[in-house]
Amino acid sequence: MTKWVRYTLPAAAIVSIASPAYSMQYLSIAEAQKQAFPSATSFSEVQAGRVWKAEAGGRAVGFFIFDRVVGKHLLIDYAVALTPAGAVHSVEILQYRESYGGEIRSASWLAQFVGKTGGSPLKINGDIRNIAGATLSSTHVTEGVKRVLSAYGNRLR
């Protein structure tokens, strides 16, 4: 029989685990390039820090574009992989930063992210926490992909 237990949370208890900022590094640019084009043997920069041409055996297998979208409280690094014909092959989130008002109030919360770059292995039993409770809109990334496609889709050959 399901019974309910009622708690009154003192305001202080909530504040003590407040987290004004959250950041997550998923993949580095090099890792994301490998993910998008596993067969590629080289990635040559077409536009510094932004566009790479993926090649295998001297033949272009696609293009890799790094971009960033800024929302009111979010900064998201992502990458779009295009086929040689200029169609979207894949979209991958590289890094995600969520901060409110630019304030960093909870040093202990942020401390868990120190040194956690894409290269350092993480234990499955999360040294980095899993977050639930709000659906973050991905609209800005979707719009960004469209911009990338219209800017580069027909231009890269």
């Binding site: 309910w4 009154t8 949370l9 499955i124 709000a134 659906t135 973050l136 809109s137």
Partner: protein, 303 residues
């Protein structure tokens, strides 16, 4: 024998949110192939069940199922079967035929958008499953939206995909609806629905799913929580007695759908939760928290 790689964690924009998948306990090649297959499964659910994609099963049903039976993918058929069962068990609190109501309220695009004459749902019994993956609506003016259940189903299918690659530990998080498998328990931080910048509690899960619903929160536009995006199909009014809820269940499709029912029915959903072997945490209008007795031991309220 291949050496196990560390935990790999990746994210893609899917289902209108960010879907994050992490896995470990297999070779790096298997973990990456498993994560790719898991993202593919989520993308397939998106393709089949999106209200917005014109070629999705949902759009084809909304367009044609009132006039003739429409053939759908086995996954869509399965979600419809679960949704109809939940409709009856919740006495109408869960209703996929809410689409015309959401359109009238401007929460979904469509012809009735902004209409003052808000229709009523409570017609899920008019969605007829004819067998052989054929679906028909028994009357005109019926429209379905699987937004309250498809995300959870996608999480379950993604976990299946990871299992297929012999991965030992996996976690799929689709914007807060998540499920995990593997020997180690995972702690999930739950945002405070009243103040989403803050975390309210941690919940430990192991081989189970957790889904959350809250009054609408959109960090791109505003810090403020607004009126609920959950509409009570019985009254066509936003649900506002509960500020937010988190449900733990054996599968994410059930956890996802149950959050909508708990937002409307509150603690009176106890029997239904028990039927699905689920537990829930509710944040009440006055900020107090109620936790079902079976979930209590998994929750740490303060760090």
């Amino acid at each position: 024998m291949a050496i196990d790689c560390g935990n790999i964690r990746r994210a893609k924009p899917l289902l209108g949110t960010f879907v994050e998948i992490q896995a470990s306990g297999a070779s790096e090649a298997d973990v990456n192939a498993g994560i790719d297959a898991a993202f593919d499964a989520v993308a397939k659910v998106h393709r089949l069940m999106s209200f917005h994609e014109p070629d999705s099963d949902v759009s084809r049903l909304n367009q044609f199922a009132s006039s003739h039976p429409v053939s759908v993918d086995p996954w869509t058929y399965e979600v419809l079967r679960i949704a109809i069962e939940l409709h009856f068990r919740s006495r109408g609190a869960f209703d996929i035929t809410i689409a015309p109501v959401l359109q009238a309220l401007g929460l979904l695009p469509g012809p009735g958008e902004g209409s003052r004459d808000v229709p009523r749902a409570r017609t899920a019994h008019q969605v007829e499953l004819l067998g052989d993956r054929l679906v028909r609506f028994s009357g005109p003016g019926i429209g379905i939206d699987l937004g309250g259940i498809a995300k959870g189903f996608a999480v379950d299918r993604a976990l299946d995909a990871l299992h297929g690659f012999g991965i030992a530990n996996g976690l799929v998080n689709a914007g807060g609806d998540l499920a995990a498998f593997g020997p180690d328990p995972q702690t999930v931080s739950i945002r405070n629905p009243v103040d989403p910048q803050k975390f309210m509690c941690g919940i430990r899960i192991r081989n189970e799913a957790l889904a959350s619903s809250a009054r609408r929160f959109d960090p791109f536009r505003s810090d403020e929580t607004t009126n609920s995006a959950i509409i009570d199909p019985i009254t066509s009014e936003p649900a506002c007695a509960i500020q937010g809820t988190t449900v733990r269940a054996p599968s994410c499709v059930i956890a996802d759908a149950l959050t909508k029912i708990v937002m409307i029915a509150g603690t009176s959903a106890a029997d239904l939760l028990e039927h699905y072997r689920a537990g829930a945490l509710l944040v009440l209008a006055d900020g107090d928290i109620q936790i079902s007795s079976d979930l209590k031991d998994q929750v740490s309220l303060a760090a």
